[in-house]
Amino acid sequence: MASDLLLVLVIGAALAFDFTNGFHDTANVVATSISTRAMAPRAAIALAAILNFVGAFLSLEVAATIAKGIVDSGAITLQVVFAGLIGAILWNLVTWWYGLPSSSSHALIGGVVGAMLVSHGPSAIHGDGLLGKVVLPALVAPVLAFVVAGLSILLVYRIVGRLRPGPVTRGFRLGQIASGSLLALAHGTNDAQKTMGVITLALVAHGSLSAAHPDVPFWVVVASASAIALGTYSGGWRIIRTMGSKIIKMDAAQGFSAQGSGAAVILAATHVGFPLSTTHVISGGVVGAGAAKRLSAVKWGVAGNMAVAWILTIPAAGLTGAAAYGISALFGGGTLGPLVVCLVLAVATVALIRARSTPAALAEDPA
Protein backbone atom coordinates (compact mmCIF):
# COMPACT_ATOMS: atom_id res chain seq x y z
CA MET A 1 0.00 0.00 0.00
CA ALA A 2 1.40 3.38 -0.96
CA SER A 3 2.23 5.95 1.69
CA ASP A 4 0.12 9.05 2.32
CA LEU A 5 2.93 11.31 1.12
CA LEU A 6 3.34 9.43 -2.18
CA LEU A 7 -0.42 9.68 -2.68
CA VAL A 8 -0.25 13.45 -2.15
CA LEU A 9 2.69 13.74 -4.58
CA VAL A 10 0.89 11.79 -7.32
CA ILE A 11 -2.34 13.76 -6.85
CA GLY A 12 -0.37 17.03 -6.90
CA ALA A 13 1.46 15.99 -10.09
CA ALA A 14 -1.82 14.87 -11.70
CA LEU A 15 -3.49 18.20 -10.96
CA ALA A 16 -0.40 20.08 -12.16
CA PHE A 17 -0.53 18.08 -15.42
CA ASP A 18 -4.26 18.87 -15.69
CA PHE A 19 -3.46 22.58 -15.29
CA THR A 20 -0.77 22.50 -18.01
CA ASN A 21 -3.15 20.49 -20.20
CA GLY A 22 -5.71 23.30 -19.83
CA PHE A 23 -3.45 26.22 -20.67
CA HIS A 24 -1.61 24.26 -23.37
CA ASP A 25 -4.86 23.37 -25.17
CA THR A 26 -6.68 26.70 -24.74
CA ALA A 27 -5.42 27.60 -28.20
CA ASN A 28 -7.35 24.74 -29.84
CA VAL A 29 -10.59 26.28 -28.68
CA VAL A 30 -10.01 30.03 -28.81
CA ALA A 31 -7.17 30.82 -31.24
CA THR A 32 -9.27 31.05 -34.41
CA SER A 33 -12.11 32.89 -32.63
CA ILE A 34 -9.70 35.49 -31.26
CA SER A 35 -7.87 35.80 -34.57
CA THR A 36 -11.05 36.52 -36.56
CA ARG A 37 -12.43 38.73 -33.74
CA ALA A 38 -15.41 36.45 -33.22
CA MET A 39 -14.82 37.05 -29.50
CA ALA A 40 -12.67 39.32 -27.37
CA PRO A 41 -9.63 37.39 -26.04
CA ARG A 42 -10.59 37.47 -22.34
CA ALA A 43 -14.23 36.60 -23.05
CA ALA A 44 -13.19 33.71 -25.30
CA ILE A 45 -10.88 32.30 -22.65
CA ALA A 46 -13.44 32.76 -19.85
CA LEU A 47 -16.10 30.92 -21.90
CA ALA A 48 -13.63 28.13 -22.74
CA ALA A 49 -12.70 27.77 -19.06
CA ILE A 50 -16.35 27.58 -17.94
CA LEU A 51 -17.20 25.00 -20.62
CA ASN A 52 -14.10 22.92 -19.80
CA PHE A 53 -15.28 22.90 -16.18
CA VAL A 54 -18.82 21.88 -17.16
CA GLY A 55 -17.50 19.29 -19.65
CA ALA A 56 -15.61 17.50 -16.90
CA PHE A 57 -18.94 16.61 -15.25
CA LEU A 58 -20.64 15.33 -18.42
CA SER A 59 -19.26 11.80 -18.51
CA LEU A 60 -17.14 9.57 -16.28
CA GLU A 61 -17.19 6.55 -18.55
CA VAL A 62 -13.55 6.71 -19.60
CA ALA A 63 -12.09 7.85 -16.28
CA ALA A 64 -10.16 4.60 -16.05
CA THR A 65 -6.70 3.42 -16.92
CA ILE A 66 -4.07 5.60 -18.52
CA ALA A 67 -2.17 4.38 -21.57
CA LYS A 68 -4.65 1.46 -21.76
CA GLY A 69 -3.64 -1.06 -24.40
CA ILE A 70 -0.26 0.65 -24.83
CA VAL A 71 1.54 -0.54 -21.70
CA ASP A 72 0.94 -3.53 -19.44
CA SER A 73 -1.74 -2.04 -17.14
CA GLY A 74 -1.04 -4.57 -14.38
CA ALA A 75 2.56 -3.39 -14.10
CA ILE A 76 1.77 0.32 -13.62
CA THR A 77 2.86 1.52 -10.18
CA LEU A 78 2.43 4.92 -8.57
CA GLN A 79 6.12 5.66 -9.14
CA VAL A 80 5.64 4.98 -12.87
CA VAL A 81 2.56 7.22 -12.99
CA PHE A 82 4.42 9.97 -11.11
CA ALA A 83 7.40 9.80 -13.48
CA GLY A 84 5.09 9.74 -16.51
CA LEU A 85 3.28 12.84 -15.25
CA ILE A 86 6.61 14.64 -14.71
CA GLY A 87 7.64 13.80 -18.30
CA ALA A 88 4.32 15.08 -19.65
CA ILE A 89 4.36 18.28 -17.58
CA LEU A 90 7.91 19.15 -18.63
CA TRP A 91 7.18 18.51 -22.33
CA ASN A 92 4.02 20.63 -22.10
CA LEU A 93 6.05 23.46 -20.56
CA VAL A 94 8.82 23.22 -23.18
CA THR A 95 6.39 23.28 -26.12
CA TRP A 96 4.42 26.09 -24.50
CA TRP A 97 7.64 28.09 -24.09
CA TYR A 98 8.34 27.77 -27.82
CA GLY A 99 4.67 28.45 -28.65
CA LEU A 100 4.19 25.04 -30.27
CA PRO A 101 0.84 23.25 -30.10
CA SER A 102 1.42 19.58 -29.22
CA SER A 103 -0.76 16.82 -27.82
CA SER A 104 -0.94 16.64 -24.00
CA SER A 105 -2.36 13.10 -24.25
CA HIS A 106 0.64 11.96 -26.28
CA ALA A 107 2.95 13.64 -23.76
CA LEU A 108 1.32 11.66 -20.93
CA ILE A 109 1.50 8.41 -22.90
CA GLY A 110 5.14 9.13 -23.80
CA GLY A 111 6.01 9.82 -20.16
CA VAL A 112 4.36 6.62 -18.94
CA VAL A 113 5.95 4.54 -21.74
CA GLY A 114 9.41 5.93 -20.88
CA ALA A 115 8.98 5.20 -17.17
CA MET A 116 7.66 1.70 -17.94
CA LEU A 117 10.64 0.96 -20.21
CA VAL A 118 13.02 1.70 -17.33
CA SER A 119 10.95 -0.06 -14.68
CA HIS A 120 9.84 -3.22 -16.51
CA GLY A 121 11.72 -3.26 -19.81
CA PRO A 122 10.43 -3.41 -23.42
CA SER A 123 8.17 -6.40 -22.71
CA ALA A 124 5.78 -4.12 -20.78
CA ILE A 125 5.16 -1.99 -23.89
CA HIS A 126 2.54 -3.15 -26.40
CA GLY A 127 4.11 -2.11 -29.70
CA ASP A 128 0.95 -2.77 -31.73
CA GLY A 129 -1.09 -0.70 -29.25
CA LEU A 130 1.39 2.17 -29.53
CA LEU A 131 1.20 1.96 -33.32
CA GLY A 132 -2.58 1.61 -33.56
CA LYS A 133 -3.66 3.97 -30.78
CA VAL A 134 -0.99 6.66 -30.98
CA VAL A 135 1.19 6.66 -34.10
CA LEU A 136 -1.54 5.93 -36.67
CA PRO A 137 -4.02 8.51 -35.29
CA ALA A 138 -1.17 11.06 -35.07
CA LEU A 139 -0.53 10.58 -38.79
CA VAL A 140 -4.19 10.53 -39.78
CA ALA A 141 -5.50 13.45 -37.69
CA PRO A 142 -3.62 16.38 -39.25
CA VAL A 143 -3.88 15.02 -42.80
CA LEU A 144 -7.62 14.35 -42.47
CA ALA A 145 -8.23 17.77 -40.90
CA PHE A 146 -6.10 19.42 -43.60
CA VAL A 147 -8.17 17.82 -46.37
CA VAL A 148 -11.54 18.42 -44.66
CA ALA A 149 -10.83 22.08 -43.84
CA GLY A 150 -9.37 22.65 -47.31
CA LEU A 151 -12.38 21.13 -49.09
CA SER A 152 -14.72 22.98 -46.73
CA ILE A 153 -13.26 26.42 -47.36
CA LEU A 154 -13.31 25.91 -51.15
CA LEU A 155 -17.02 24.99 -51.02
CA VAL A 156 -17.80 27.74 -48.51
CA TYR A 157 -16.19 30.38 -50.75
CA ARG A 158 -18.29 29.12 -53.67
CA ILE A 159 -21.50 29.41 -51.62
CA VAL A 160 -20.96 32.80 -49.96
CA GLY A 161 -18.29 34.32 -52.21
CA ARG A 162 -20.57 36.79 -54.05
CA LEU A 163 -22.56 37.92 -51.04
CA ARG A 164 -22.06 41.13 -49.04
CA PRO A 165 -19.09 40.46 -46.73
CA GLY A 166 -20.54 42.16 -43.62
CA PRO A 167 -23.38 39.75 -42.73
CA VAL A 168 -21.37 36.76 -43.97
CA THR A 169 -18.51 37.58 -41.62
CA ARG A 170 -20.92 38.09 -38.72
CA GLY A 171 -22.54 34.73 -39.49
CA PHE A 172 -19.26 32.83 -39.51
CA ARG A 173 -18.18 34.56 -36.30
CA LEU A 174 -21.37 33.27 -34.63
CA GLY A 175 -20.61 29.81 -36.00
CA GLN A 176 -17.13 30.00 -34.51
CA ILE A 177 -18.55 30.78 -31.07
CA ALA A 178 -20.79 27.69 -31.32
CA SER A 179 -18.06 25.36 -32.64
CA GLY A 180 -15.53 26.71 -30.10
CA SER A 181 -18.03 26.07 -27.31
CA LEU A 182 -18.53 22.47 -28.47
CA LEU A 183 -14.77 21.96 -28.62
CA ALA A 184 -14.33 23.35 -25.09
CA LEU A 185 -17.03 21.02 -23.76
CA ALA A 186 -15.48 18.04 -25.53
CA HIS A 187 -12.03 18.98 -24.24
CA GLY A 188 -13.26 19.17 -20.65
CA THR A 189 -15.01 15.82 -21.01
CA ASN A 190 -12.00 14.05 -22.56
CA ASP A 191 -9.00 15.57 -20.89
CA ALA A 192 -10.18 16.11 -17.31
CA GLN A 193 -11.02 12.40 -17.25
CA LYS A 194 -7.37 11.50 -17.75
CA THR A 195 -6.57 13.26 -14.48
CA MET A 196 -9.56 11.66 -12.77
CA GLY A 197 -8.28 8.27 -13.94
CA VAL A 198 -4.79 8.92 -12.57
CA ILE A 199 -6.07 10.10 -9.17
CA THR A 200 -8.54 7.21 -8.93
CA LEU A 201 -5.72 4.77 -9.72
CA ALA A 202 -3.61 6.38 -6.96
CA LEU A 203 -6.47 6.12 -4.46
CA VAL A 204 -6.94 2.43 -5.28
CA ALA A 205 -3.21 1.77 -4.87
CA HIS A 206 -3.29 3.64 -1.54
CA GLY A 207 -6.19 1.51 -0.36
CA SER A 208 -8.56 4.48 -0.03
CA LEU A 209 -10.82 3.08 -2.76
CA SER A 210 -11.99 -0.44 -3.42
CA ALA A 211 -10.22 -2.02 -6.39
CA ALA A 212 -13.39 -3.96 -7.23
CA HIS A 213 -15.61 -0.85 -7.54
CA PRO A 214 -13.34 2.17 -8.04
CA ASP A 215 -16.02 4.85 -8.45
CA VAL A 216 -14.53 8.29 -9.06
CA PRO A 217 -15.07 10.33 -5.84
CA PHE A 218 -16.89 13.64 -6.32
CA TRP A 219 -13.98 15.69 -4.93
CA VAL A 220 -11.75 14.17 -7.63
CA VAL A 221 -14.20 15.31 -10.32
CA VAL A 222 -14.36 18.82 -8.83
CA ALA A 223 -10.57 19.07 -8.40
CA SER A 224 -9.87 17.85 -11.95
CA ALA A 225 -12.52 20.12 -13.45
CA SER A 226 -11.16 23.09 -11.49
CA ALA A 227 -7.53 22.44 -12.46
CA ILE A 228 -8.27 22.17 -16.19
CA ALA A 229 -10.57 25.21 -16.06
CA LEU A 230 -7.99 27.30 -14.19
CA GLY A 231 -5.33 26.20 -16.68
CA THR A 232 -7.58 27.15 -19.57
CA TYR A 233 -8.36 30.53 -17.99
CA SER A 234 -4.66 31.29 -17.48
CA GLY A 235 -4.38 31.05 -21.29
CA GLY A 236 -1.37 29.71 -23.17
CA TRP A 237 -0.92 32.95 -25.10
CA ARG A 238 2.25 31.85 -26.88
CA ILE A 239 0.41 28.91 -28.50
CA ILE A 240 -2.70 31.03 -29.13
CA ARG A 241 -0.53 33.48 -31.11
CA THR A 242 1.01 30.63 -33.13
CA MET A 243 -2.31 29.00 -34.02
CA GLY A 244 -4.27 32.21 -34.40
CA SER A 245 -1.95 34.35 -36.50
CA LYS A 246 1.50 32.85 -37.12
CA ILE A 247 0.43 29.95 -39.38
CA ILE A 248 -2.01 31.90 -41.57
CA LYS A 249 -3.81 35.24 -41.45
CA MET A 250 -7.36 33.94 -41.49
CA ASP A 251 -10.73 35.46 -42.29
CA ALA A 252 -13.93 34.44 -40.49
CA ALA A 253 -14.85 31.81 -43.10
CA GLN A 254 -11.43 30.18 -42.79
CA GLY A 255 -11.64 30.34 -39.00
CA PHE A 256 -15.01 28.59 -39.08
CA SER A 257 -13.86 25.99 -41.62
CA ALA A 258 -10.79 25.16 -39.53
CA GLN A 259 -12.61 25.06 -36.20
CA GLY A 260 -16.12 23.92 -37.22
CA SER A 261 -14.96 21.15 -39.51
CA GLY A 262 -12.28 20.27 -36.94
CA ALA A 263 -14.91 19.92 -34.21
CA ALA A 264 -17.03 17.75 -36.53
CA VAL A 265 -14.03 15.51 -37.32
CA ILE A 266 -13.12 15.15 -33.62
CA LEU A 267 -16.65 14.26 -32.56
CA ALA A 268 -17.18 11.92 -35.53
CA ALA A 269 -13.95 10.12 -34.55
CA THR A 270 -15.07 9.97 -30.91
CA HIS A 271 -18.38 8.46 -32.07
CA VAL A 272 -16.49 5.75 -33.97
CA GLY A 273 -14.36 5.10 -30.86
CA PHE A 274 -11.10 6.20 -32.48
CA PRO A 275 -10.26 9.42 -30.62
CA LEU A 276 -8.01 11.91 -32.42
CA SER A 277 -5.87 14.59 -30.82
CA THR A 278 -7.69 17.95 -30.70
CA THR A 279 -4.37 19.73 -31.20
CA HIS A 280 -3.48 17.74 -34.32
CA VAL A 281 -6.93 18.18 -35.84
CA ILE A 282 -7.29 21.92 -35.24
CA SER A 283 -3.69 22.67 -36.30
CA GLY A 284 -4.13 20.58 -39.46
CA GLY A 285 -7.43 22.35 -40.11
CA VAL A 286 -5.86 25.81 -39.79
CA VAL A 287 -3.10 24.87 -42.28
CA GLY A 288 -5.66 23.29 -44.64
CA ALA A 289 -7.96 26.33 -44.57
CA GLY A 290 -4.99 28.55 -45.44
CA ALA A 291 -3.42 26.30 -48.08
CA ALA A 292 -6.71 25.81 -49.97
CA LYS A 293 -6.99 29.57 -50.45
CA ARG A 294 -3.34 30.04 -51.44
CA LEU A 295 -0.37 27.75 -50.74
CA SER A 296 1.90 30.72 -50.10
CA ALA A 297 -0.54 32.00 -47.44
CA VAL A 298 0.77 29.33 -45.07
CA LYS A 299 3.97 29.97 -43.14
CA TRP A 300 5.38 26.51 -43.78
CA GLY A 301 8.32 27.08 -41.44
CA VAL A 302 5.94 27.43 -38.47
CA ALA A 303 3.91 24.41 -39.65
CA GLY A 304 7.16 22.43 -39.97
CA ASN A 305 8.20 23.33 -36.41
CA MET A 306 4.82 22.06 -35.19
CA ALA A 307 5.28 18.78 -37.06
CA VAL A 308 8.74 18.35 -35.52
CA ALA A 309 7.26 18.96 -32.04
CA TRP A 310 4.59 16.29 -32.72
CA ILE A 311 7.24 13.77 -33.80
CA LEU A 312 9.35 14.56 -30.72
CA THR A 313 6.48 14.46 -28.20
CA ILE A 314 6.53 10.72 -27.40
CA PRO A 315 10.34 10.29 -27.39
CA ALA A 316 11.02 13.51 -25.46
CA ALA A 317 8.31 12.98 -22.83
CA GLY A 318 9.43 9.33 -22.71
CA LEU A 319 13.06 10.28 -22.05
CA THR A 320 12.00 12.72 -19.31
CA GLY A 321 9.67 10.14 -17.77
CA ALA A 322 12.46 7.55 -17.93
CA ALA A 323 14.91 9.96 -16.29
CA ALA A 324 12.38 10.84 -13.57
CA TYR A 325 11.78 7.15 -12.88
CA GLY A 326 15.51 6.42 -12.96
CA ILE A 327 16.26 9.13 -10.37
CA SER A 328 13.30 7.99 -8.31
CA ALA A 329 14.41 4.31 -8.42
CA LEU A 330 17.91 5.22 -7.18
CA PHE A 331 16.29 6.05 -3.84
CA GLY A 332 14.29 2.84 -3.56
CA GLY A 333 10.71 2.01 -4.46
CA GLY A 334 8.96 4.18 -1.87
CA THR A 335 8.22 7.85 -1.41
CA LEU A 336 11.80 9.15 -1.14
CA GLY A 337 12.49 8.84 -4.91
CA PRO A 338 9.51 10.97 -6.05
CA LEU A 339 10.38 13.48 -3.28
CA VAL A 340 13.94 13.77 -4.62
CA VAL A 341 12.57 14.26 -8.16
CA CYS A 342 10.38 17.10 -6.84
CA LEU A 343 13.43 18.60 -5.11
CA VAL A 344 15.55 18.37 -8.29
CA LEU A 345 12.76 20.06 -10.29
CA ALA A 346 12.38 22.80 -7.65
CA VAL A 347 16.14 23.51 -7.66
CA ALA A 348 16.25 23.49 -11.50
CA THR A 349 13.28 25.91 -11.64
CA VAL A 350 14.88 28.32 -9.16
CA ALA A 351 18.21 28.13 -11.04
CA LEU A 352 16.43 28.82 -14.35
CA ILE A 353 14.54 31.79 -12.92
CA ARG A 354 17.72 33.20 -11.34
CA ALA A 355 19.65 32.74 -14.60
CA ARG A 356 16.96 34.56 -16.58
CA SER A 357 16.77 37.41 -14.08
CA THR A 358 20.58 37.95 -13.99
CA PRO A 359 21.50 41.06 -16.05
CA ALA A 360 23.44 40.15 -19.21
CA ALA A 361 26.50 42.23 -18.22
CA LEU A 362 26.80 40.42 -14.87
CA ALA A 363 26.30 37.04 -16.46
CA GLU A 364 29.12 37.70 -18.95
CA ASP A 365 31.57 38.89 -16.24
CA PRO A 366 32.40 35.99 -13.91
CA ALA A 367 34.24 38.32 -11.55
Binding site: V140, L144, V147, S152, G171, A186, G260, S261, A263, V265
Partner: protein, 75 residues
Protein backbone atom coordinates in the same frame (compact mmCIF):
# COMPACT_ATOMS: atom_id res chain seq x y z
CA UNK B 1 -7.03 -5.53 -38.06
CA UNK B 2 -9.77 -3.56 -36.32
CA UNK B 3 -7.66 -0.38 -36.06
CA UNK B 4 -7.55 -0.14 -39.87
CA UNK B 5 -11.33 -0.69 -40.08
CA UNK B 6 -11.90 2.05 -37.49
CA UNK B 7 -9.49 4.28 -39.36
CA UNK B 8 -11.39 3.94 -42.64
CA UNK B 9 -14.63 4.71 -40.80
CA UNK B 10 -13.08 7.77 -39.15
CA UNK B 11 -11.86 9.07 -42.52
CA UNK B 12 -15.20 8.88 -44.29
CA UNK B 13 -17.24 10.00 -41.26
CA UNK B 14 -14.81 12.84 -40.60
CA UNK B 15 -15.00 13.95 -44.24
CA UNK B 16 -18.79 13.75 -44.25
CA UNK B 17 -19.25 15.50 -40.90
CA UNK B 18 -16.57 18.16 -41.40
CA UNK B 19 -17.39 19.16 -44.96
CA UNK B 20 -21.12 18.64 -44.38
CA UNK B 21 -21.25 20.94 -41.37
CA UNK B 22 -19.26 23.71 -43.06
CA UNK B 23 -21.36 23.56 -46.23
CA UNK B 24 -24.67 23.40 -44.33
CA UNK B 25 -23.76 26.32 -42.09
CA UNK B 26 -22.65 28.43 -45.05
CA UNK B 27 -25.98 27.59 -46.72
CA UNK B 28 -27.72 29.01 -43.63
CA UNK B 29 -25.72 32.24 -43.91
CA UNK B 30 -26.22 32.52 -47.68
CA UNK B 31 -29.96 31.84 -47.41
CA UNK B 32 -30.43 34.38 -44.60
CA UNK B 33 -28.55 37.08 -46.53
CA UNK B 34 -30.46 36.33 -49.76
CA UNK B 35 -33.80 36.24 -47.95
CA UNK B 36 -33.08 39.69 -46.48
CA UNK B 37 -32.14 41.08 -49.89
CA UNK B 38 -35.24 39.57 -51.52
CA UNK B 39 -37.50 41.03 -48.81
CA UNK B 40 -36.00 44.50 -49.30
CA UNK B 41 -36.47 44.19 -53.09
CA UNK B 42 -40.12 43.13 -52.63
CA UNK B 43 -39.56 39.64 -54.11
CA UNK B 44 -41.77 37.80 -51.62
CA UNK B 45 -41.59 34.39 -53.33
CA UNK B 46 -37.79 34.38 -53.30
CA UNK B 47 -37.76 35.62 -49.70
CA UNK B 48 -39.98 32.72 -48.59
CA UNK B 49 -37.88 30.19 -50.55
CA UNK B 50 -34.58 31.41 -49.06
CA UNK B 51 -36.09 31.60 -45.57
CA UNK B 52 -37.22 27.98 -45.91
CA UNK B 53 -33.72 26.90 -47.00
CA UNK B 54 -32.26 28.80 -44.02
CA UNK B 55 -34.66 27.07 -41.60
CA UNK B 56 -33.98 23.58 -42.98
CA UNK B 57 -30.20 24.05 -43.06
CA UNK B 58 -30.33 25.60 -39.59
CA UNK B 59 -32.24 22.58 -38.26
CA UNK B 60 -29.61 20.27 -39.77
CA UNK B 61 -26.89 22.26 -37.95
CA UNK B 62 -28.84 22.07 -34.67
CA UNK B 63 -29.26 18.32 -35.15
CA UNK B 64 -25.48 18.03 -35.65
CA UNK B 65 -24.91 19.93 -32.38
CA UNK B 66 -27.40 17.66 -30.57
CA UNK B 67 -25.65 14.59 -32.02
CA UNK B 68 -22.29 15.96 -30.82
CA UNK B 69 -23.65 16.46 -27.30
CA UNK B 70 -25.10 12.93 -27.23
CA UNK B 71 -21.75 11.56 -28.43
CA UNK B 72 -19.98 13.41 -25.59
CA UNK B 73 -22.45 12.12 -22.99
CA UNK B 74 -22.36 8.49 -24.09
CA UNK B 75 -18.81 7.81 -25.13
Amino acid sequence: MSDVGDLVEVVWMGLLAGVGLSVTFSLVIAAVVRAGTARRDGRDGAAVLHSAIAVVAGLVCLAAVAFALITMLHK
